[in-house]
């Protein structure tokens, strides 16, 4: 009897030899995508069953949601509103990231800064996004600044904590090497701290993105006349549940595209130096 059985990677390699690299890649992609797709199909089937059973406009069937989705796509409304929301999220993320990087770096490297920022971070983590959305609408009115500042305030604390934790976890031996070779602050930031904290940064950015989306929708509901939040609010006022779900669905697809197309691609690219496990 063999002591060790063939590993999964070995199995893929063997298939690759038999069916060629292109087909093997397709096989690998299908193995990755199909389980998620199965979940979506089951969810849709369950929703359809619920809609048929309840026969209420509050639980529209897939046909109605699909029609609504087609309408917002064909009219170009989906691209306009999702584009507006994504633009605000991007600016808010950039501002929040810049603030979080400065605060996280300072907190990790300086005891005074850590104690100084601690109450702000604690407060920032406990204040709900709704409060930032309301305050920014009151302070800045109907402007781009409202959403950008609200998002930055909403995401910066969580991101700063992630960054500070990441920097604290950087191998002190590498920090010593950087000191001996007199790497400047910016070179250390680029070649040591940022790459070393990348796993923390990526999980922080994912969390920040989901928080930003929640905050911007609130701002758009309360005080703006464009964006997905505005469109959702319009659907809510007209009691059009199918429209609310169509907008949610459209934006979810965009979020999934960003997750798979951007975050995972960037992460894969930036961590290609990592040694793959043999098992």
């Amino acid at each position: 009897m063999a002591l060790w059985t063939e590993s999964a990677a070995g199995l893929v390699r063997r298939h690759e030899r038999r069916i060629g690299p292109g087909a093997a890649r397709l096989f690998g992609l299908a193995a990755r995508v199909l389980p998620g797709l199965l979940f979506c199909v089951l969810l849709a089937a369950a929703w359809q069953a619920m809609a048929t059973r309840s026969a209420s406009p509050l639980v529209p069937n897939l046909q109605l949601i699909g029609d609504e989705l087609l309408l917002i796509l064909q009219s170009g409304e989906a691209y306009r509103q999702i584009g507006a929301t994504l633009g605000r999220i991007t600016l808010g993320l950039l501002l929040g990231f810049a603030v979080a990087l400065a605060v996280g770096l300072a907190s990790a490297r300086n005891r005074f800064a850590r104690s100084f920022f601690e109450p702000a971070l604690l407060l920032g983590l406990t204040v709900p996004g709704l409060v930032w959305a309301l305050l920014c609408v009151i302070w800045f009115g109907l402007s781009l600044k409202t959403s950008v500042v609200a998002i930055a305030l909403g995401i910066a604390p969580a991101l700063a904590v992630s960054i500070a934790q990441g920097i604290s976890a950087v191998d002190p031996q590498l920090i010593e090497a950087a000191h001996v070779y007199r790497l400047s602050f910016w070179v250390r930031l680029r070649t040591l701290w940022l790459p070393a904290i990348l796993p923390f940064l990526m999980s922080g950015m994912r969390l920040a993105f989901s928080l930003a989306w929640k905050v911007v929708v609130l701002v758009e509901v309360f005080g703006l006349s464009s964006g997905v939040g505005y469109a959702l609010n319009t659907g809510f006022i007209s009691q059009n549940v199918a429209a609310v779900l169509a907008w949610t669905l459209a934006f979810s697809v965009v979020v999934a595209a960003i997750e798979y197309g951007l975050f995972q691609t960037v992460e894969r690219r930036l961590t290609r130096w990592k040694r793959k496990s043999l098992v």
């Binding site: 010593e176 790497l183 070649t191």
Partner: protein, 244 residues
């Protein structure tokens, strides 16, 4: 000989986690001449690495001073027991970052890798290299900046003996090409005898110089020369005497 690096009446005390104070260096003085490699040997915990940390600016002396007579801010190259490379940078980039910080020409990274026999691994990441290859990159990095002083902290102790032998010869070649001053901290007395111009045997607590052995042999040296084995036995005997 003009001193490049000078420890002058250095005191250094560490406070242990249990609050106990331990003085490792007291009124310690040592000169490292221009182009000279001084090996420091002694038992574990005696303060050998502390001397390197003081020279590298990683720690500060409680009293006394560490002085460089280079006429400018000294360029330090350091090779640690572990390579301490940035895993996310290629071998060439690891070297280029240090060269850039020292104000040199980053194109020299490739040249240095070729000099240590790793020319074709310039674009490899450290984790895809063997332990010996990684340490070669660390050696190349230390010499790529045209250092005034090279600090070697047990650089070959984590390698198997065959690889270590090759790297000692590599170090000798680099020393001949670049002629910096330096300190080699090692537990391997044969290595000290083969590589150094002077071997300083430390003993006692706080550490004091028990013996200085001059190695009056020109480079390149032959590692098989029985002269180094005789020196090694002599140094070892001194160490054993002072270990009690």
């Amino acid at each position: 000989m003009t001193a490049t690096l000078r420890f002058r009446h250095v005191d250094k005390t560490f406070v242990r986690p249990n609050g106990e104070r331990e003085m490792v260096l007291s009124d310690f003085s040592l000169d490292v001449g221009r182009g000279e490699l001084v090996a420091i040997v002694g038992s574990s915990g005696i303060g050998k690495s502390t001397l390197l940390h003081l020279a590298a600016g990683l720690e500060q002396p409680d009293a006394g001073s560490v002085e460089f007579a280079t006429g400018h801010s000294p360029r330090l190259g350091m090779v640690f027991q572990q390579p301490r490379l940035f895993d996310w940078l290629t071998a060439a980039d690891n070297i280029a970052v240090a060269i850039h910080a020292a104000g040199g020409d980053v194109a020299k990274a490739q040249e240095m890798l070729t000099a240590v026999g790793l020319g074709k691994y310039a674009h490899s990441y450290p984790l895809s290299l063997s332990g010996g290859q990684r340490q070669r990159v660390a050696l190349a990095r230390a010499f790529a900046i045209e250092p005034d002083v090279v600090l070697l902290d047990e650089p070959f102790s984590a390698l198997d003996e065959l690889t270590a032998r090759k790297l000692r010869l590599q170090l000798q070649e680099l020393w001949l090409d670049h002629a910096p001053s330096g300190i080699l901290v090692t537990h391997n007395t044969l290595e000290a005898a083969f590589l150094a111009d002077r071997v300083v045997v430390l003993g006692g607590k706080p550490a004091r110089v028990e013996k200085i052995v001059n190695v009056a042999e020109a480079r390149p040296r032959n590692a098989e020369n029985s002269f180094y084995f005789d020196l090694h036995r002599d140094i070892l005997a001194t160490l054993e005497r002072h270990a009690g």
